[in-house]
Point group: D5
Chain length 94, copies 10
């Protein structure tokens, strides 16, 4: 089941650089693992912003929530979620 997720990241300047770097590395590893597992189906950078549009393929709303709140940068993100359904004109199944 697919969800469009918009993430806006805002890491405060008060976070020590070392900790920020570690969080970003963890975030990258987590994101790549979930992409390889098929859960994080698409990940695009929004041009000019520290933000992304992502498509998640998860089993349920609960699964989505757990996946998102486990993001290492979650405490610094503003997230909005849009549930996606099959479009009647799409040639591929969701």
């Amino acid at each position: 089941m697919l969800y469009m997720v918009h993430m806006l990241v805002d890491i405060p300047a008060t976070l020590p650089k070392g900790e920020a770097d570690r969080l970003k590395a963890d975030e990258k590893a987590y994101a790549q693992r979930l992409q390889r597992e098929g859960k994080w189906r698409h990940l695009w950078r929004i041009a000019g912003q520290y933000a992304n549009y992502s498509v998640f393929d998860v089993a349920s709303n609960d699964d989505l929530h757990e996946t998102l709140t486990a993001l290492p940068l979650y405490p610094y993100m503003t997230i909005s979620v849009t549930p996606l359904a099959q479009h009647p004109s799409a040639i591929a199944a969701n």
Copy 2:
């Protein structure tokens, strides 16, 4: 080159049903042709709305504009466009 496109459709009640049906059929044919050609890479319905999120893969801003304004339902759509860039954590190229 990828763009996230949000389309909200609002067909006025004054449009004769026959014309509306014809436009919708044309829209579907056009959408499926562009999907097969790879230009309209993704098409998802937003649950509960006459709206969609789409990802277009086009050569340029001009190509995108021509593609969108050629939509049979374009006169009845409110469209917003977000240019997408490669995300450093994405495991696939855009």
Copy 3:
């Protein structure tokens, strides 16, 4: 799986009263059938508005979309959907 759904109804004055009445009766019958089936778990009127907050319990985003677009008054509604997850402090399962 639960979704919070906000529906705002705006029936145009140009719709003949007979047709509006028929649609409202159909809407009521449909709403009550779905409530009895357990799909439309809660339905509350927003005080002072022709609007409601509803909670739907459906199998998927697709199921939700089909259920909402089948509403007899759907063409006259503005709908927004919020996916709900289990709250860790809730004493009941969703």
Copy 4:
């Protein structure tokens, strides 16, 4: 009498972790006690956000205000309240 309540939580990074943990534990205990008493009728997590939709069943606006301001995390919440009325198509009484 029912109210839809939307709570968005934003605990500042400057709050010591120990104090934050204590407040969260108090919040959970308070929320569960009110649910058992029937005052906090529903509590749902909004997927992807540190936010919830809740339905309160209280005696009055004053009762609601006292209940909400007594939340241990109240100082860190942005709250909005929507009064709910009986929907004519609802099969259950509020």
Copy 5:
């Protein structure tokens, strides 16, 4: 129990003048009866707008909803409702 109610009136130009005049007269009579009964405690015009701020003193959310939807001009109003509680610094009871 008190509620702040904001009403914005927008009577379409297509409504025949005779019917609009009759509705306005009914609205005035209804408003004055409810003020005399104590239910519509305050009624103020917003300077420069066809809008008002009102305070209603009703028994419940349901009572408020029934009172507002019975307004003769209700179909032409956009209404928002804010539940009011006793302010700790107020010298009068609500």
Copy 6:
């Protein structure tokens, strides 16, 4: 002359508790004095928020401004003002 005033209070966590308590006590005393004098005609708490709707009865815009900026909590408030006029359906004079 009446004005609807909406006040939203946001006392920063960095303000020492002693100073905050003193300001709140001063605010209460000031509010009650003005209510007794008839200048602050109504004061209602917005349910669930550290905010109020108030009606002021002052001689002029200048009088209103001086009255509001003299509020002990003024530096921590976001205030919006709506001038009120006599409503033709009101049974009482403003």
Copy 7:
């Protein structure tokens, strides 16, 4: 007593041209009479819009409301009002 007033005019295409022209002429005459009387102290066109910023010098909120609702184009305007006070750095009295 001064008020900043923002007026946005939207004359519907369905209004017969003759009637629109008559209303505009009436509006102009009314505006110029009030300017000569000193009530409509300033009148500026917002560049690129059918809108204006105006400053009114009236006796009260009621006076302002009556003045504005008597505008011949009032039914086609969206008006917002901001009460002005003496600025401590102004070298002229309001």
Copy 8:
């Protein structure tokens, strides 16, 4: 050439009082000098807010920008600018 300028001032609590006082005194002197020179034609306080509406009479957009950025409190202001044109119903030239 005239411009309507809206200035909202927000001096952070962390600015030492002495420095804030000096900036305010400088701001007042600067504002009064520009008023005497005719460049800052009007200056009104918005009732209930640390904000003003001002009308500037300057030679160009560049002149306006230099004038505004030279405000001693400029770093603490949110400014919006609306270019004004001669209104056809105004009895005075801009």
Copy 9:
């Protein structure tokens, strides 16, 4: 003197096609004449919308207003204007 102008066009479906076509042709001729004269310095289509960003080089706010209101499609446009100043890092004069 430069201004950034955003124009959003919304031609109602009720306008006869012949009249709409004539207006569009007039608009094009007018736009091209002003570009050749140097007044309409830039004109860009916003991808996916019946809208444009334009830069005008005019003598004054009045000149801009007259230029914009003379647009054949002006009655069907929503226009917003941003005055531009010389940027200190720009290598070219405005």
Copy 10:
């Protein structure tokens, strides 16, 4: 390929002046180099604000993103991007 870019700069007061000055100098050098190279085609200050409208001429969305994120002041900017297409009435090619 052209993009309209809006940049709003907000340098926190906590950034040491020396570092802010260095960043601003770097920003200026970077901006001027890109202008000379033709990538940053236009750069205009928004009158009264620490903001600009810019037009970039880049090869792709990725090129734009890299160019913008390399801005020395990027961490202190809020950026929005609008893709531009050739306007049919423009006399010059984009």
